[in-house]
């Protein structure tokens, strides 16, 4: 059975966290193409021009330079082309205000960046099931 894997965009400025996601993908045998943007501005540029087909899933950090995750989400949700993309927020911020802002902008999930890689792996394994549904 050949199945077209959906593209995934990771918006994250920390190199170690990018590696973290890549490693978690490899360990869970996730073969979707992963695009990486370093901040919201870059992510919008990539969505507007270079990612074909458009990603169905975005993994989004909140604290980033230039344009943070919440600002990016606001702009994205106003654009008809992007408003149906599933967004998972992935952040160190356990602040209620960040969570509320994110959920108000219709996010599919909120992943707290854990200290240990093992905990992160199990969240990615759970997400993989969800992503497979997106691919149907």
């Amino acid at each position: 059975m050949t199945q077209k894997l959906v593209n995934i965009l990771l918006v994250e400025d920390d190199e170690v966290d990018v590696m973290n996601v890549k490693r978690a993908f490899a360990k869970n045998n996730i073969k979707n193409e992963l695009f990486v943007a370093g901040n919201g501005v870059e992510a919008l540029e990539m969505l507007n021009s270079s990612i074909v087909p458009l990603p169905k899933i975005i993994i989004l950090d909140i604290n980033m330079p230039k344009m943070n995750g919440i600002e990016f989400l606001k702009i994205m949700r106003e654009d008809d082309r992007f408003k149906n993309i599933s967004v998972f927020v992935m952040t160190t911020s356990n602040e209620d205000s960040d969570k509320i802002n994110a959920y108000n902008l219709n996010v599919a999930g909120y992943i707290l960046k854990p200290l240990s890689f093992e905990k992160f792996l199990s969240s990615v394994a759970t997400l993989k099931n969800f992503w497979q549904l997106c691919e149907l």
Binding site: D14, V16, M19, N20, R23, T92, S93, K113, P114, L115, S116, F117
Partner: protein, 242 residues
Amino acid sequence: MEEPDTKCQAKLESLKKEFEDFIYIISHDMKTPMRAISNISNWIEEDLGATINPSIKENFNLLKNRVQRLENMMNAMLELSRVERYDMDFIEVNIPKLIDEIIFITKDKLNTEFHISLHLKNENFITYIKKLEKVLLSVIDNSVRFNNNIKKNVYIEVVETDINYEFEIKDDGLGVEEAVKDKIFDIFYTVHSKDVLDTTGSGLAISDKILKFVGGNIEYKKNPSGGSIFKMIWPKNIEIKK
């Protein structure tokens, strides 16, 4: 006379806020590089493969344990800085039910017998429920953890007075030496080496801060028959702060 007082009070409030913000920023922002150290050490270990030299393996374990300890300390600092601002649910608590729940979530209680004695006219009262739970959990958890007996006993007594609920938690465990009994409420202070009992040393410091916040108090007494007694006075009526 009132004016300098108000000025002093304002200055104090602003310093307090600055201090809390400072702790928050430190403990929050320092987590990112700390997580990186933890992750990268895992990856190096993984990449070295299965044939790893035992001494390297041992050092990796130490490294990971210490990073974890650092994280626990940062989380504790964060929790301490947030006592007056977070978990502010002010709702009805049922004391017998709360004690049952706390015993239920206490870890490593397999060989522990809990003796509960309640002298209550009103089982229910309205208070900062999460804060009361945190304090009781910290003290009960300590009484189980700092106890090497094969069979452990923890005595929980609650007495209702006109204005307070008085909780006394007594155990037959290791107790605390007279010379250090004031230090146990300091953050990160541990009676035993952290290598013997891996604990952060923050539960009592946070509890002490909570009790000051609600206008009560907590104190330690040596159990004459060995072990510790913690006595907490928790006011029935707490003035809600803005």
